[in-house]
């Protein structure tokens, strides 16, 4: 998918994965995002080094982690700084959009689980504050399979479409998470990482599944195993269609005492 001006019409609470092919594409996208922000009442926070000079209007601010929040390699500190900026803007009555060059949030060699954990925190920030967060991944910096997996924990992908993970796990407006699409063997790495991330944030994970088409045998096994490896953790798949419910019953995992509940 090409990035166009339309790509940057962001809804409140959106958590977007931008897979960037080149520095030129990044610069163009950043410019368009700045322009869209200028036409709204919102403000924009750029995490990283801006590709162009910001005009000093006060609508665009910059968080440069190397100088401000990332001196000791603790990627969680950058997230705390983003939270702080968003909260401060809200106190001033503004909505702060976030464009994060993700290599400044976490080093590209970070394990998938850790990165997914960061993404789920950003998803939660977006859902709870109403801000929109664009996570920019420069393709030359990140492993292609990792980018495919990360797309699953965003509400939308712009730029190059990665090998699709088939499913999306997003923060629900009313709390909990939504699980959409289909979860198959090709998605196991991303699905397991997303489940672990959700379980790390709350031990009782509620997944709204009205838009979940199917979940295959290998994914049901991964679900049961992941929950089993999370002491005190449990997962509820709520609002599933009859195929998902049938698959769960056919699996027999419901009779194993797994802390997983699947209901229509």
């Amino acid at each position: 998918m090409q990035t166009t001006h339309k790509s940057w019409l962001l809804d409140p609470g959106e958590h977007v994965c931008w897979q960037v092919r080149s520095p030129q594409e990044y610069a163009a996208g950043e410019r368009q995002l700045i322009e869209h922000t200028a036409h709204s009442a919102d403000r924009l926070l750029i995490v990283g080094v801006p590709a162009q000079k910001t005009n000093g209007s006060g609508r665009v601010s910059v968080l440069y982690p190397a100088h401000e929040a990332y001196p000791d390699g603790q990627s969680g500190a950058v997230l705390q700084a983003i939270h702080g900026r968003v909260d401060a803007a809200r106190r001033e009555g503004h909505v702060l959009r976030v464009l994060a060059a993700m290599e400044h949030v976490a080093p590209p060699h970070v394990p998938l689980d850790e990165l997914v954990g960061h993404e789920m925190e950003l998803a939660e920030l977006a859902a709870q504050s109403g801000t929109s967060v664009v996570c920019a991944y420069r393709q030359q910096m990140w492993e292609p399979n990792l980018l495919g997996d990360l797309a699953a924990v965003h509400s939308r992908v712009v730029g190059t479409q990665p090998r699709t993970a088939g499913f999306r796990l997003n923060r629900a407006d009313a709390g909990g998470w939504t699980l959409d699409g289909s979860v198959g063997f090709e998605s196991l790495r991303a699905f397991t990482a997303a489940l672990r991330g959700a379980l790390a944030r709350t031990p009782r994970v509620q997944l709204r599944c009205e838009m979940l088409d199917l979940i295959d045998a290998s994914a049901l096994r991964a679900l049961v195993e992941t929950v089993g490896q999370s002491p005190g953790g449990s997962v509820v798949l709520d609002g599933v269609n009859e195929t998902v419910l049938r698959a769960w019953r056919m699996s027999g995992y419901d009779a194993t005492g797994a802390a997983v509940e699947v209901c229509a």
Partner: protein, 326 residues
């Protein structure tokens, strides 16, 4: 057909074939079997179509040692036969030995269905080889049947019931099952190759094709799940890639997946996985979801899995669906 050697006791699983002609012979033979079974002790299960259960029930009166189950409730897929007997035996295990009558519906089945039903009869011997002592008698009405069809069925049963007792059958082939030839796909068919990066595309293609050909949404999701499971097996065990073919035949949708792997266990997906076993559920799902599953697998030839899903009798392709797909 038999060497007429009486079998004095049930040696583990006694699987016998009862060829009969007409209702009178059916009744005398099955009632004799039930009496034989009751004398041996344990429970009796009669799995038969409704009209057969009614006839037997009228002659048995209120014998509370006989349990009737409906074979029609199993649905069309012969692959559901073995797990059904697993369940029925399991429910009566406390009663001691179990004696069953297994009367499948052979009429209104096409060649592929009948071939698979015969194979299931043969697989019963493997599935229950190490089961506690029980016997299963399979009546088949020979009236109007071709001799070759009866002979093929005889090869699936180690024993034969002659109406009053059972004996070993010299026709039984224990080692290798002789499959019917699987005809080539009907024309026209759609085809795509796949590897791990294409699993999502395989599901999308199956869904769009099935909806476009009139399968209802819920059944389409089930077919898509079944195709996805077999394609996943190709990725994991079949050399990492495979070929999907889709066509319409005899008011059914047929999906065939080919790969280079070999399924060495003929019971894979045919028996309920133990609760304690994580994994090994893909082919189990497939057998539960489809109306017919045919598997041909051999070293040097790879594996072909053919999944059938019958179209509803009032199937039409709704205009809005076609519009959605365009």
């Amino acid at each position: 057909m038999t060497d007429a050697t009486p079998v004095p006791a049930i040696p583990g699983f006694a699987h016998m074939f009862y060829p009969y002609a007409g209702e009178q012979q059916y009744l005398s033979g099955t009632l004799a079997y039930i009496q034989h079974a009751r004398r041996a002790g344990g429970a009796v299960v009669v799995a038969a179509p409704e009209e057969r259960r009614a006839v037997l029930g009228a002659h048995l009166g209120g014998d509370d040692g006989v349990t009737f189950v409906d074979t029609a409730a199993l649905g069309r897929n012969p692959g559901l036969l073995i797990p059904a007997w697993q369940d029925w035996i399991g429910q009566l295990a406390s009663a001691g030995a179990v004696h069953g009558i297994n009367e499948s519906v052979w009429s209104a089945r096409d060649t592929a269905q009948q071939g698979e039903l015969r194979y299931q009869e043969w697989l019963l011997n493997l599935a229950f080889a190490r089961a506690p002592a029980w016997s299963l008698m399979c009546p088949i009405d020979t009236t109007g049947q071709q001799a070759a069809a009866i002979a093929a069925l005889a090869r699936c049963h180690p024993l034969v019931w002659n109406g009053t007792d059972y004996a070993t059958s010299s026709d039984y082939t224990a080692d290798v099952y002789a499959f019917d030839r699987m005809p080539e796909p009907a024309e026209p068919f759609e085809q795509m190759g796949y590897d791990v990066d294409d699993l999502h595309a395989v599901r999308e293609k199956t869904t769009r094709w099935a909806l476009a050909n009139g399968l209802r949404a819920a059944r389409t999701r089930e077919l898509t799940l079944a195709v996805s499971e077999v394609a996943t097996n190709s990725i994991r065990h079949g050399g990492g890639h495979g070929t999907l073919r889709l066509w319409v035949q005899n008011a059914a949708l047929v999906c065939e997946l080919r790969d280079d792997g070999v399924i060495t266990d003929p019971l894979a997906g045919r028996v309920r996985p133990p609760k304690t076993q994580l994994g090994g559920r893909g082919l189990w799902f497939v057998n539960q979801l489809c109306d017919l599953v045919e598997i041909r697998s051999a070293p040097g030839k790879g594996t072909r899995v053919r999944l059938w899903m019958e179209l509803p009798s009032d199937s039409t392709v709704p205009k809005e669906r076609v519009d959605d797909l365009s």
